[in-house]
Amino acid sequence: MVKQAAAGRPNHLFRNLNSKIASIPMILVATVIFLGGTIWTVFYSFTNSRLLPRLSFVGIEQYERLWASSRWIISIQNLAIYGILSLIFSLVIGFMLAALMDQKIRFENTFRTIFLYPFALSFIVTGLVWQWVLNPEFGVQSVVRSLGWTSFSFDPLYNPQIVIYGILIAALWQGTGLVMCLMLAGLRGIDEDIWKAARVDGIPMWRTYLFVVIPMMRPVFVTTLVIIASGIVKVYDLVVAQTSGGPGNASEVPAKYVYDYMFQAQNLGQGFAASTMMLLTVAIIIIPWAYLEFGGRKRG
């Protein structure tokens, strides 16, 4: 009787106990690392930590120094140019390749394998290959010159004005295959009947794509956009491998700025402030998306 009474009402906390124990790693990662770590970094970005984090607050001084630094300004400009162009080009190229692949072609698997294989390679490998291909002494430039066009000049990795486009070429080579795959999945999700209806109405193919299919693929486009965008903000290895930020500091990016200040220059406060700015950039991209994606569903 006594035992039964004791076991009568199961304790709320111990219900589903095994599941809770199994989820401890996930809970710890979510709260301590992702939530706690982010808050910690933002918090310490208001201190003047140098070699070690310490709690002496200096207000927004780190941010003032950050925005006064020419290297940071260059990083942000590079990120903006690289980001906008790589968004546009990877969406356009990715979609066009997907549209071509969707014409019931032969050897579809072969083409897909070819377009996607760079995605399996790391940014380090990508950067080093393109460093070699774009090498002005031996690469594309010298080959074109040896064909007779001796004034041809294409040395993006040695020209501070256009170095970021050299990185963009490599990044597009690596990443468009993924976009193509996502777009192809989206195109395959379009009902065959839509195509038949458009054909019956005599609408030319390009107009069907532009005004019917692309609007229907809105969710795919939005997801792809978010994936590319969050990858853009993280771009680091590619720059390190291809140019190490050079020539000078013409191809610096924010992620490299953060790493250099945190682990090389031993100026943690600057690193934290810069990484907080990166977080802010991501938030500007993610929050509207999350609102549209999840907030809208609740309303509907």
Binding site: A22, P53, V125, S142
Partner: protein, 314 residues
């Protein structure tokens, strides 16, 4: 191009009607293989494929040439005499700093990092995904949401707190530390993958096992695990390529003598001292890229499925 395509199809329709009237052979007339539309289509695809294949070709060709030939010719010409010396040198002799034992050291470091990281991260994430799909508790969805949002936060924001945590645990700079880091940052995508997969299995299976008296772990090991083998393969592909290709965590969380292959490769190629040996560099680059490339070519469709599962639902 598009108009011609439509015309062809309409023409084929007329043909079909005519055929039916004559009660001849049924079905559409086969389209001509060399129509302008097809030439455009395959031409464009072929040019694009060339662009994608070119760097791989250049890598292979350069790595098989000797240095004098590289200085003479252009990077696209095939090697006049094939030499495997650069490969040997890249693997066993190339120098980083004071060590001159080539990329082999980085390769074995990467293997030592890869195996436990893949096993641990998949084990942890699959159990988390399973409990999220089948054993929800109060707050589990909230933690999961934080996890997924966390996947979008740049690593640079969380990397220093992780350094501190690992230092407090006494594993900063060790293999264990790096395994933990890979487990942490692989968790959002893998948990999502497993959660969605387990949620898509028929719930009757789970209920039947419950009625038969199976608990959390026995359902996981006896029912879920055997059924989830394909998704385990997808997760493995994702993690093997991801961890092998990692650079940032390798730089931050290891010491020079335990650097993974990518970091060592970058140090070899971008070292400032010494004469640049482009053929050795390209052989080293190919060696580093070989593992994910082999995984990619062997796994084929599963690789696509893996990134699609990771990407579309993310």
């Amino acid at each position: 191009m598009a108009d011609i395509g439509t015309l062809n199809r309409t023409a084929a329709g007329f043909d079909a009607v005519a055929d039916r009237v004559a009660s001849g052979p049924r079905g559409r007339r086969p389209r001509r293989a060399l129509s302008p539309r097809n030439i455009m289509l395959y031409g464009t695809l072929f040019v694009a494929a060339l662009y994608y294949l070119l760097p791989l070709y250049v890598m292979v060709v350069t790595s098989l040439k000797g240095m004098p030939e590289i200085r003479m010719g252009n990077i696209f010409s095939p090697p006049m005499e094939i030499t495997f010396e650069p490969w040997v040198k890249a693997w066993a002799e190339a120098c980083t700093g004071l060590n001159c034992d080539g990329l082999s050291r980085g390769f074995w470091n990467s293997v030592r990092i890869l195996v436990p990281s893949v096993v641990v991260s998949i084990a942890v994430a699959s159990v988390s995904g399973y409990s999220l799909a089948n054993w929800r508790f109060k707050g589990s969805e909230l933690f999961f949401s934080i996890l997924i949002i966390g996947a979008f936060i740049p690593y640079q924001v969380m990397i220093y707190p992780v350094v501190i945590v690992l230092r407090e645990l006494g594993v900063y700079g060790t293999l264990t530390g790096l395994v933990i880091v890979h487990t942490i940052f692989g968790m959002p995508i893998l948990t999502l993958l497993f959660r969605n997969y387990f949620a898509s299995l028929p719930v009757e299976l789970f209920k039947a096992a419950r009625i038969d008296g199976a608990g959390f772990w026995s359902i996981y090991f006896r029912i879920m695990l055997p059924m989830a083998l394909p998704i385990f393969v997808v997760a493995m592909i994702l993690q093997v390529t991801g961890i092998w290709n990692d650079f940032l965590f390798g730089v931050v969380f290891t010491r020079p003598d335990t650097y993974p292959m990518t970091v060592q490769l970058n140090n070899i190629v971008n070292s400032v001292q010494g004469v640049k040996e482009y053929n050795v560099n390209m052989a080293a680059t190919l060696l580093t890229g070989a593992v994910p490339l082999i995984v990619y070519f062997v796994s084929g469709r599963l690789f696509v499925r893996g990134i699609a599962a990771g990407a579309v639902k993310g």
